[in-house]
């Protein structure tokens, strides 16, 4: 069975920006291990002659032409923003 450490779960949680309780941490640790073990099973198949698949839709080459369409307009664009000023979204300061 695939090993998933507590740190692995914390790392994945951080990448997804979710906060986990102690109980959830334990629960997900075992659930993730189970999922990985299930996926491991696929390795039993020989994929030597199989092309990597990038889409399940069976379509290809769907394009649009480079023609402008009306945008939303600023008020509508900003309507759902948790925080905004006159013309922009506002987010916690980003400093590097």
């Amino acid at each position: 069975m695939a090993k998933i450490s507590r740190d692995d779960v914390l790392h994945v949680a951080l990448l997804s920006r979710v906060e986990l309780t102690e109980e959830e941490l334990e629960l997900f640790q075992s659930q993730l291990a189970g999922i990985l073990a299930y996926v491991e099973k696929l390795k039993e198949l020989s994929t030597e002659d199989a092309e990597p698949m990038t889409s399940v839709m069976g379509l290809h080459d769907v394009f649009r032409e480079d023609e402008p369409r009306a945008s939303l307009g600023r008020e509508e664009a900003l309507a759902n923003a948790p925080d905004r000023d006159e013309d922009s979204f506002r987010v916690p300061a980003v400093v590097e």
Partner: protein, 484 residues
């Protein structure tokens, strides 16, 4: 200081020359009020579906072909996952597993010779929005403008092939010219449509293994990239000289202090959790389609420059200036087709036409003097009708009024004075008035000649043929009794 070999790789992002964004019909025009060019697709609203812009895709295929890449006949978009406030979807649609082009090369001129730089990867991706940081560093919020979000970009990654800051500079400039000539990007640095990131390592000369790679972020102009590279060379050289090792890391360039410092947090490549973008379908490139796109590749700047030098006899310097802007090069060719002396055409364009364009902030397409008009002026210069100096004024007048050279020369009485008798009298007068200059010229001080030419030019308001004046001075000097 130069005990180590410098190894630099560059990654560039150029905004593709499209009217609309990569996945929606929002305009990409620069300078619109913040957040006015957005829609549910580029705002990352739930349930929307992206549709790929064909022009953007074709531009990247054209770029990959022109860079001699191997083209994947079936390419696809991938999803790169990360969180940042300028990325409304919380992922960027890019290419990872099947980029459009790999393993190409780019020839550039550096230090007078041709250098081949390997191109590892050419792919299509979307840009993020723009974060506007507060002026005062204590402020609690940053602002986000999503006009840029979803703008189509081409990313081009070189191998670790550049060996000096000068080569990095040559690459950045040559690449800019290449992309503009190819028509895939306007490469306006000040509008953020061309950006570079660099990675650099040092190694002892003769060592094959590359040193630990330091990536430099936050450099948004060529000058800053070069400044940051100089900084890193100093910093890494010091570390190595002290016997320490250089940690592999990402650094930010602090322009104000001209120093690089390690970036605190950085997600690693494996943290991006790339996977095939489920909202888009694979893209096929048939041999016919590839050939059709290949046929749209124009002559590129380096080849054009070499042709100007070899076929038209221009100097490397002049040819280089002309090919910097494909429209200027085209104007030059149109003029050279009408006037046989290509060097004279090139001189007039690189000296006078470019100056007029700069002073009047015009592009060559809007320049009122068309190739026929310029060729006409050149013919009149050749025929001795106007001197070089006067030709300059005539050109200025042509630009200002839109009139041809002929009427301007007539109306202003600018015709060059080539009448030997008139000039001989003036030269003689100048020599009589300045015996000191005469004896200095006789003594071999050719600089003193100016004191004799000057008065003649003044007397004729610059219209005298300078070649003729010089010949007359020589003639009169050779006559032993003259001037005394």
């Amino acid at each position: 200081m130069t005990d180590y070999e410098v190894v630099i790789g560059l990654e560039l992002h150029a905004q593709l020359a499209t009217r609309t964004k990569l996945f929606c019909g929002c305009s990409t025009a620069f300078g619109a009020p913040p957040n006015s060019q957005t829609c549910p697709v580029c705002l990352g609203m739930p349930g929307v579906l992206p549709m790929l812009n064909r022009a953007a895709f074709d531009h990247v295929v054209r770029t990959a072909l022109a860079l001699h890449c191997r083209i994947d006949p079936e390419t696809a978009m991938d999803r790169k996952n990360y969180y940042y406030p300028d990325l409304p979807k919380n992922y960027q649609i890019s290419q990872n597993a099947r980029p459009i082009g790999v393993d190409g090369w780019f020839d550039m001129e550096s230090g007078g010779s041709i250098k081949r730089v390997r191109i590892l990867n050419v792919h299509l991706e979307e840009d993020a929005g723009k974060l506007i940081h507060p002026e005062d560093t204590g402020a609690a919020t940053s602002r986000v403008d999503l006009n840029r979000a979803g703008t189509p970009l081409v990313e081009i990654v070189t191998g670790p092939d550049l060996r000096s800051v000068e080569e990095a500079k040559a690459y950045m400039e040559s690449m800019r010219q290449f992309l503009v000539a190819l028509g895939v990007s306007d490469c306006k640095m000040q509008e953020g449509s061309l950006r570079f990131e660099a990675s650099i390592s040092l190694r002892p000369f003769g060592q094959e293994k590359l040193g630990p790679r330091v990536e430099i972020k936050n450099v948004n102009s060529v000058r800053f990239v070069l400044g940051a590279l100089e900084c890193e060379i100093r910093r890494q050289t010091e570390l190595l000289n002290r016997g320490e090792s250089v940690p592999q890391q990402t650094v930010l360039y602090d322009v104000r202090h001209d120093e690089t410092r390690p970036m605190r947090s950085k997600e690693h490549a494996e943290d991006y959790r790339y996977f095939p973008e489920p909202d888009l379908v694979p893209l096929h490139l048939s041999p016919e389609r590839l050939e059709a796109i290949r046929a749209t590749i124009p002559e590129l700047p380096l080849a054009r420059k070499q042709r100007f030098m070899q076929c038209l006899g221009l100097s490397s310097y002049d040819a280089g200036i002309l090919v910097e802007d494909p429209a200027i090069a085209g104007y030059f060719e149109a003029c050279a087709a009408l006037h046989a002396d290509a060097k004279a055409v090139s001189n007039l364009i690189t000296n006078e036409v470019l100056r007029e364009l700069k002073e009047r902030r015009l592009t060559i397409d809007a320049f009122p003097v068309r190739p026929e008009g310029l060729a006409d002026l050149l013919r009149r210069m050749d025929a001795g009708e106007v001197s070089k100096t006067v030709a300059r004024d005539v050109l200025t007048e042509m630009v200002a009024t839109g009139r041809g050279a002929g009427p301007i020369i007539e109306a202003k009485g600018l015709r060059q004075i080539g009448d030997e008798a008139v000039l001989r009298a003036l030269v003689l007068q100048a020599m009589q008035q300045n015996p000191k200059a005469v004896s200095e010229v006789r003594a071999g001080k050719s600089k003193a000649r100016g004191a004799l030419v000057g008065p003649v030019m003044r007397a004729t308001q610059g219209k005298a043929d300078p070649g003729l004046i010089n010949r007359l001075i020589q003639e009169l000097l050779n006559r032993p009794s003259s001037g005394e």
